[in-house]
């Protein structure tokens, strides 16, 4: 509880700092140069989903009669160019994905100053300061914006909710570089700072029952991306190292360290009417030095292959196979289940998801989507929606509908 409180406060502080920064930068220029205000842009989005499952709960009581409406995403952002090389941008996000609604309080999603110090015919180079969205895989930076997703849910093997705060954004400094080669563009991005470690991480690690808290240490993220032939072929490699210390007020579970090192390899082929996308990820998770918990060192593995097809101008359908294991050395989850004495079923350690989806964008500001998932395993099923793992079904299916608008 303490943690979430302090994070909200710091969000509030940084939000007001950002607003102040925006205001400061507008005022002096607004007098001298009307052009600066001309660069002000305000955008936003709202998405509401209905989720129906036959068994297990996803983002609320989805297996009950009427399904769950507890998946809502609302965001608004503003950006401004006070100087030709400088961009100021901030976004506030309110997101509910199950839970009791507490998590839906608005937070600062990003707030940054971007200084593009070099831009000529051959390259651009710049620096970003503030809260920056992590360039992780193809979709992470805008994972909460329905219009940038190919489906209502991103492939959950990589973009799962359980430790989403870690993946979202970092508070620090990021450098970016784009180099134009004869065959395509090479883009590099690297950042250091403090990751966001919130309640979801403790819950997933099973630490929420203890009075202590995880404190974020310095973390790093990098992405190298190559876009061939105007983006017909896109490949990327992303890597991150997230560190946190557990501060335990008493002997149980004791002070400990948490380390998370994910790698993602991404590939996409684009044609006018279709795209083929695949990503593969390895997630190395280490818990060390706790007195009440044994050391953990696990490599999780995720991958998906996805085909999207555009038709009739504003329609798109999608088919995807998505697969996750929590521990490469225990793909069936049997060893894990045995270690819990059967209290946690083996199917909680993997998930294979077949998805069929349809999107209709009758107007650039409006999107309607529907999709069907058939899932074997519950590895990415949010634990807050399913507090008793033994009560979950191994094979389950899910139907989602979503309405999205933006401006």
């Amino acid at each position: 509880m303490l943690v979430s409180k302090s994070f909200r406060w710091s969000d509030l502080r940084s939000t007001s700092a950002m607003v102040g920064l925006l205001a400061l930068s507008v005022v002096p220029h607004a007098r001298s140069d009307q052009g600066v205000l001309d660069t002000l842009q305000v955008h936003g989005f709202l998405s509401q989903a209905l989720i129906i499952t036959d068994d297990n709960n996803f983002f609320g009581p989805s297996s009950e009669d009427d399904g769950s409406l507890k998946f809502t995403e609302i965001g608004a952002n503003a950006s401004l160019r006070p100087h030709e090389n400088v961009l100021l941008a901030a976004q506030v996000l309110s997101r509910r994905a199950g839970g009791d609604g507490k998590e839906a309080s608005p937070t600062l999603d990003y707030g940054l100053l971007d200084y593009q110090m070099l831009s000529d015919q051959q390259r651009t180079f710049g620096v970003q300061l503030g809260r920056v969205k992590n360039p992780f895989g193809f979709y992470n930076q805008t994972r909460d914006v329905a219009f940038t997703r190919p489906s209502i849910l991103l492939p959950q093997s990589i973009y799962f909710d359980r430790t989403r705060s870690l993946a979202l954004a970092g508070d620090g400094i990021t450098l970016y570089h784009e180099e134009r080669l004869d065959t395509g563009a090479l883009r590099l991005q690297a950042g250091v700072g403090q990751a966001r470690v919130e309640d979801d991480v403790e819950r997933t690690l099973g630490l929420e029952r203890f009075p202590g808290s995880l404190e974020a240490e310095s973390s790093a993220i990098g992405q190298i991306r190559y876009e061939h032939d105007g983006g017909r072929i896109v490949t990327a490699l992303s890597a991150a190292s997230v560190n946190a210390d557990y501060d335990s007020p008493n002997g149980s579970p004791g002070n400990g360290t948490f380390q998370f090192q994910p790698w993602v390899l991404s590939f996409q082929y684009n044609e006018e009417l279709w795209s083929l996308t695949a990503e593969y990820a390895i997630r190395q998770l280490k818990l060390e030095d706790f007195t009440a918990l044994s050391d953990t060192d696990k490599d999780g593995e995720s991958w998906y292959v996805q085909y999207t097809r555009r038709f009739h101008h504003d329609w798109q359908w999608l088919v995807r196979y998505d697969s996750l294991v929590n521990d490469r050395d225990d793909r069936s989850g049997e060893a894990f289940a045995a270690s819990t004495g059967g209290a946690v079923p083996a199917h909680s350690q993997f998930a294979d998801d077949i998805t069929l989806g349809l999107q209709w964008t009758p107007h650039p500001r409006l999107m309607l989507a529907g999709e069907y998932h058939y899932v074997d395993g519950t590895a990415w099923l949010p634990s807050q929606d399913n507090p008793d793992p033994a009560a979950t079904e191994r094979r389950w299916s899910m139907l989602l509908f979503q309405f999205s608008v933006r401006f």
């Binding site: 160019r81 831009s119 651009t124 969205k133 219009f147 032939d229 983006g231 684009n270 044609e271």
Partner: protein
């Protein structure tokens, strides 16, 4: 009639002076031209640079002036042709690139115009403006940028 309009355009380009010299070399009359505000000092852009600017990843002209990018609707045939023929990208890729910039705080959306007449007005009157037009929409206030 066609010849006449072409002659007019040639005359206009001569009037516009050496800035539009690049355009006179353009052989294909139906090609969609890259156009800019007459005050822009850059007269030539590489295709990759042009693509980075239209994708909103590069925010200034190579000489440092701020770029203001103007585009037509995604389904407008001139936009579609410009994206595919001149930038070698599909309109859906551009739209996705813009959405990702706008909603991750790494860039801004381009300015939308309704039709080519409005494009011409905005390009002619906005310092740093960059857009595209069919040849028949050119006038003396518009600078044609040649693309390598």
């Amino acid at each position: 009639m066609r010849r006449l309009s072409r002659l007019t355009v040639m005359a206009l380009m001569l009037l516009a002076g050496p800035l539009s010299a690049g355009a006179a070399n353009a052989v294909d009359a139906s090609r969609i031209l890259l156009v800019a505000h007459p005050g822009v000092d850059t007269h030539q852009l590489k295709r990759d640079t042009t693509r980075a600017i239209f994708a909103m990843r590069q925010r200034t002209w190579p000489d440092g002036q701020a770029v203001r990018v103007y585009v037509l609707d995604n389904h407008h045939p001139v936009h579609t042709r410009f994206a595919k023929e001149q930038l070698s990208v599909y309109p859906h890729q551009l739209q996705l690139a813009w959405d990702r910039m706008v909603f991750s705080g790494t860039g801004q959306a381009p300015n939308r115009v309704r039709d080519q007449a409005e494009m011409r007005e905005r390009i002619a009157t906005t310092p740093g403006a960059l857009g595209y037009l069919e040849r028949e929409y050119l006038d003396a206030r518009i600078q044609v940028i040649s693309m390598e």
